[in-house]
């Protein structure tokens, strides 16, 4: 290719001068979204504080099983609050003006974390289903409680819920794996030492 060819291609390329007005409406929408996102953060913090307060109150109420119920609620509240905080930290995008490779590295990091996030329900659900099975065995081999039908319905509902969560996790896990594979392929192609 001669220099003239390339100069002509550059001229031709740059002779296309499309105009595009600033996307002010989209920017305004983005600003509203940012406010909505901040306000949901406030809701999360308030809900966590209320949850912790309620858990402590239940534990100190002196009611039968109050300690176990309160501790369970406290654990659930802290896991939900912590999970929400973690999810927010994942959503924070890297600076827009970093180099292409740095931006890709950040995207890869987020994708890997996302894969781990969607893998988490697998072992958690193993424990969850073992717990449900243990409850079922204890109920079957112990003295049958008066509310056996209700308990069976609750166990069935809990199993369906676990299966539902697992199903969602499988779909998202596979999607995140595919995304990660695409990003890794792109990283290989753009890398300093790419062939």
């Amino acid at each position: 290719m001669s220099t003239n060819d390339w100069t002509e291609l550059k001229r031709l390329w740059q002779s296309d001068v499309p105009a595009a007005a600033p996307a002010l409406e989209v920017i305004a929408k983005q600003q509203r979204r940012a406010w909505a996102w901040r306000s949901t953060a406030i809701v999360d913090v308030v809900a966590t504080i209320l949850g912790v307060a309620a858990s402590v109150w239940i534990m100190m109420s002196g009611k039968p099983n109050g300690l176990i119920l309160g501790a369970g609620m406290l654990a659930l509240t802290l896991v939900a609050g912590g999970g929400s905080l973690w999810a927010r930290s994942l959503r924070r995008a890297p600076a827009a003006d970093v180099s292409v490779l740095a931006s890709l590295d950040a995207a890869l990091h987020r994708a890997r974390v996302s894969v781990r996030y969607w893998f988490a329900p697998f072992p958690v659900n193993v424990g969850y289903f073992l717990f449900l099975a243990m409850l079922a065995f204890v109920t079957a081999f112990g003295d049958p409680p008066a509310s056996l039908p209700k308990m069976l319905v609750a166990l069935g509902g809990a199993a369906i819920w676990g299966a539902f969560i697992q199903g969602i996790a499988v779909v998202y896990y596979q999607a995140r794996l595919r995304e990660l594979a695409r990003l890794e392929e792109l990283k290989r192609a753009l890398d300093e030492n790419a062939p």
Binding site: W13, V17, P18, A20, P22, D97, L101, E192
Partner: protein, 169 residues
């Protein structure tokens, strides 16, 4: 308000660069416009942190290419529709007659199609080169060394010329 004025001023000067970069990665008219808007938003978000140390053009190209890559990754899962020729504007040309103008428009379409068909790594590089960026500037935008940028530029230009000469585009 001041930010929006700064953005408007930047886009007056570099708006065409953004649209050309967007179109090199997206052949569908509607999606190319969405990508341009995404880039505008990203520039607007990044503007408060811009201290002026970097060359403005390089800064904008970096943001545009980053958004374009995100777009390409996201769109890889969606079906394609309109071909590139539908989104190429018919523009006034420096050439004299209508036949010359039509020929130039057709050549430009072929060039844009050929660029759009290159693998992403080469497309990123050749787009910047066609925009007039030096190998050092290409290296800054991509985050690779100048020598690697030069090698990739050479390969990208060769791949582009090969496509144009073979009549694939």
């Amino acid at each position: 308000m001041q930010l929006q004025e700064e953005l408007a001023a930047l886009l007056r000067e570099h708006g065409a660069l953004i649209v050309r970069i967007a179109r090199s990665h997206e052949s569908d008219r509607g999606r190319a416009e969405e990508l341009v808007q995404d880039i505008h938003v990203a520039i607007w978000q990044a503007l408060p942190k811009f201290r002026g140390e970097a060359n403005v053009r390089t800064y904008i190209a970096r943001i545009a290419q980053n958004r374009a890559i995100t777009h390409v990754m996201r769109e890889a899962r969606r079906p394609r529709s309109a071909p590139l020729e539908e989104i190429v504007d018919v523009l006034p040309s420096d050439t004299t007659g209508p036949e010359d103008a039509a020929a130039e428009t057709e050549t430009r379409r072929r060039l844009q199609r050929a660029v759009g068909e290159l693998p992403l790594a080469l497309r990123l590089t050749v787009t910047l080169a066609l925009e007039g960026f030096s190998p050092d500037e290409v290296a800054t935008v991509l985050g690779i060394s100048s020598s690697a940028a030069s090698v990739r530029l050479h390969r990208a230009k060769a791949a582009l010329m090969n496509k144009l000469n073979s009549g694939e585009a």
